[in-house]
Every structure is written in structure tokens, then in C-alpha cells.
């Protein structure tokens, strides 16, 4: 079963929000949708889920038009974040409502998970802490047993422990039910251990699709340069991850012998190769500009 998004365009108040967005989601995939705040991630989700109607384009599931075919709607679960109707109900009430909309709703699993995480079954979701709300969102999404689950910033603002629990839940569910998950995030690195590929939303459309591939020629170095200014070839051939004074941590996505010779030259007082982390490979899979955002984001935190 494949969900096909074909040429979706959407204007809101005469402004282009989405322009010719096309991609496909296959069974059992976890796909990241990455874009800056305001790039249209939520609008895209709303449009696919049928909460907004596209001005142009088509959403196909099983060869049928998803928006027009009501019986397919139980195959997709998505609620707007952070404001949504769930906030005003308790888990017990939500279950009763969703059982009507999702005939395969997994009541047993839902109840067990609510209990396991110590969530209060009779309190409204709005009274929950941020972490509990995040866990609840994951539980309710997968309990629907919809084939497609869309999650909007599921890791945003969570502490490390909750973040791990959320990731664990997603992975377990996808492994045991072959659910297809689309995760929107403004944070690339958050998605590293989760996603099979990443869709980059930019200028109102899918700018690029990345599969995270390990390139043998990635090298990471920490070095100190001797001159007044950073040797220009560094910026041209690598991505600078950190810099304090003359000490630079840099990743070369395509390390060559010629580079190695330059690094051994007199420009540097100190040079050490660092082990490559998954994050480095992940970052290297993205365009330079994607890295620039990341730094902007980190700078504004």
C-alpha cells in the first residue's frame, strides 16, 4: 500500500504555502519531513489529512482518491498540534470517540500503555504535563491502528528521557505493525536514529529527498590553525561544526588525499582525527544550507 501525494498546491490568503508538492510513502517506512518554522509542514499535514482542501493536486491511496473515499479515512491518523480537540477530553472519553472513527482501534494496547506510563485515565489531556501529552499523542496515534500515522514535532521540547521513550514507542509500533510514519520536525539531528529518509521542505515544495548514506570518505578533524584567519580551503571543502578561537571542529564530506596534504602543512599547529558519529554522517547527507539552518536554530535557542 502506497500513499501518493501528487502535485499538491495550496494558497492561503493569496499566499503560496505549498507549490507542487509530490512524494510517496511506502509500507513500514519512517520518513522525516524537515523544514524551518513556517515552511508549510503543518499545512501539508492538514492538506493530506483532509482538514484543508488542496487548490490543486491529488492524494492517492490504493489507487483511490483519499479525500473523497471516506472508508479510507480510518487508514490515516493525524491531529493538529498543539491545539486540538483531544485536549478537552480524558483518555477514557477519547477512546470511546475514536473507536467509532477507527474500527481497528486497539483498545487493549491503548489501556495497557496508558497504565504503563501512569497517565490518568479520567483527567483531560490539557491538564497533562508536556511530556505526558507527548507520550499520549504517540499512544493514541498508534492505537488507531491506522496504516499511516502523521506526527507533528513529536519530540519538540521534551527532555532526554521522554524523548527516548517516545522514540522507543514509535520504533516498537512500526516494527510490530508495519505502520508508515511521517514525522515533521524542524530539527534534523533529532530524527537521525529514527528515519529511513528525509524530505526537505523549502520554498513551498519538496526541495530534496535524502537517504542517509554512509560515505566512506567522511572525515572529522579537530585542528588549530596558526595564521590570523581561517584558511579558506577549510570552509570550501568542509562543514565547520564548532569553532572556538583558532580551534575548529570540521567534517569533510568528501575527504581526498589532496586535502590530507594541505592539512599536514604549516597552516596548522595541531590536528587530530576524531571518530565519526552517526550525527556527522547524517549532517553530511544534507546540503550545506540545511546545516546553516541548524546552526541558526541552535543559535536562537
Amino acid at each position: 500500500m502506497t500513499l501518493v501525494i501528487e502535485n499538491i498546491s495550496k494558497k492561503i490568503q493569496q499566499q503560496d504555502v505549498l507549490k507542487n508538492v509530490s512524494f510517496e510513502l511506502n509500507t513500514g517506512e519512517i520518513v522525516g519531513l524537515v523544514g524551518r518554522n513556517g515552511s508549510g509542514k503543518t499545512t501539508l499535514f492538514d492538506t493530506i489529512a483532509g482538514e484543508l482542501l488542496p487548490d490543486f493536486g491529488r492524494i492517492g491511496l490504493d489507487g483511490l482518491d483519499y479525500i473523497k473515499t471516506i472508508r479510507l479515512h480510518e487508514q490515516l491518523f493525524y491531529v493538529d498540534m498543539p491545539e486540538n480537540w483531544l485536549r478537552y477530553y480524558s483518555p477514557r472519553k477519547i477512546k470511546a470517540i475514536l473507536k467509532l472513527a477507527y474500527p481497528n482501534f486497539d483498545e487493549q494496547w491503548y489501556d495497557a500503555e496508558i497504565k504503563r506510563f501512569g497517565l490518568n485515565n479520567s483527567k483531560r489531556i490539557r491538564t497533562y504535563s508536556k511530556g505526558m501529552r507527548a507520550l499520549f499523542m504517540i499512544i493514541v496515534s498508534f492505537a488507531s491502528r491506522a496504516q499511516y500515522v502523521f506526527l507533528d514535532e513529536p519530540l519538540d521540547g521534551l527532555d532526554v528521557l521522554i524523548r527516548d521513550q517516545v522514540k522507543q514507542l514509535i520504533v516498537n509500533q512500526v516494527t510490530s505493525h508495519q505502520t508508515t510514519v511521517l514525522i515533521a520536525s524542524h530539527n534534523l539531528v533529532d530524527l537521525d536514529t529514527l528515519v529511513d529518509r528525509v524530505l526537505l521542505l523549502k520554498n513551498h515544495t519538496i526541495d530534496r529527498t535524502f537517504a542517509i548514506e554512509e560515505n566512506k570518505n567522511i572525515r572529522k578533524y579537530q585542528l588549530a590553525y596558526s595564521g590570523e584567519v581561517l584558511p579558506t580551503f577549510l570552509r570550501d571543502s568542509g562543514t565547520i561544526i564548532a569553532q572556538t578561537g583558532h580551534v575548529v571542529t570540521i567534517v569533510f564530506n568528501d575527504f581526498t588525499e589532496a586535502l590530507g596534504i594541505k592539512l599536514a602543512g604549516q597552516d596548522f599547529k595541531f590536528i587530530e582525527e576524531l571518530p565519526i558519529g552517526s550525527e556527522d554522517v547524517f549532517r553530511a547527507s544534507f546540503a550545506e544550507e540545511a546545516h546553516v539552518w541548524q546552526q541558526e536554530l541552535e543559535g536562537t535557542k
Binding site: 516494527t175 537521525d192 536514529t193 542517509i212 552517526s278
Partner: protein
């Protein structure tokens, strides 16, 4: 446990970790490995990296994937059929010997080290790996 110094690709590092766990008896024949996604989370790697490692381990017959059941540590059939693996082991040994000669390390000393790395553990339980076959 010996640590690998060379900067290896991440998937090779994972392969090596799994192999060394098999060699040291932490993992036994028939043990189930975490799924690709679970392993990605545990090791802090991207699922594609783990998939690549699993695929290579499968080719080297260290693990086997049973559809719908999972990935398991494979029994050793007595001899390894992966010629490339054999060639690479021989190559590495040859390199080590050259370095050892330069450093004037005796043959006996090398043998002793080899025996030590092979481990007293279950050395004799394993069917003799005749590398010169």
C-alpha cells in the same frame, strides 16, 4: 576487549562489535538480534547504517534473517565460504607479521599473542578454521 583504532565506517564498527560479541561468547548461536530499527535506537545509528551492517554480516554468514521472525546468530558450518573475508583476514595477518618483523618480535611471541586473542574461552570447541585451505 581489544579496541579498534582505525577510523572505520560506522557500519563496519557495528559489524565488528557483533562479531566480537559472538567470538567472546556474549552472543551465542541462535540468539536473536534486535531489529534494524531497535538496533538503530540502541546504538544511536541511522537505520540505514544498521541495515547495511546486517546485510554484510549476512553475507559473511555471521547472522541469518528469517522472514517474519527476525535476525539470528548463525551456527558455524565448519568453514567460512566468504572468500573475500578470508582474503582480508590473511591480508591483515600478513601486515601484522611485517610490522612485527620490523619491530624484531619473535615468531614465538606472535604465536603467543595469537593464542591469547583467540581466547582460552571456547577455542577448542570451535571447529578448526583451516585458513590455508
Amino acid at each position: 576487549m581489544v579496541q579498534i583504532q582505525r577510523s572505520q565506517p560506522l557500519y563496519e564498527q557495528l559489524m565488528w562489535r557483533i562479531k566480537s560479541q559472538v567470538a567472546s561468547g556474549v552472543l551465542n548461536i541462535g540468539d536473536k538480534l534486535p531489529s534494524v530499527r531497535e538496533m538503530a535506537l540502541i546504538e544511536g545509528l541511522n537505520p540505514n547504517t544498521v541495515a547495511k551492517a546486517y546485510k554484510a554480516l549476512e553475507q559473511q554468514q555471521v547472522i541469518a534473517t528469517v522472514a517474519g521472525k527476525g535476525t539470528f546468530i548463525r551456527g558455524n558450518d565448519g568453514f567460512v565460504t566468504d572468500e573475500r573475508l578470508l582474503a582480508s583476514i590473511r591480508q591483515q595477518l600478513a601486515e601484522a607479521v611485517i610490522d612485527a618483523k620490523r619491530a624484531a618480535i619473535s615468531r614465538a611471541q606472535l604465536h603467543q599473542w595469537l593464542d591469547a586473542s583467540y581466547g582460552e574461552d571456547r577455542g577448542e570447541e570451535r571447529h578448526g578454521h583451516d585458513l590455508s585451505h
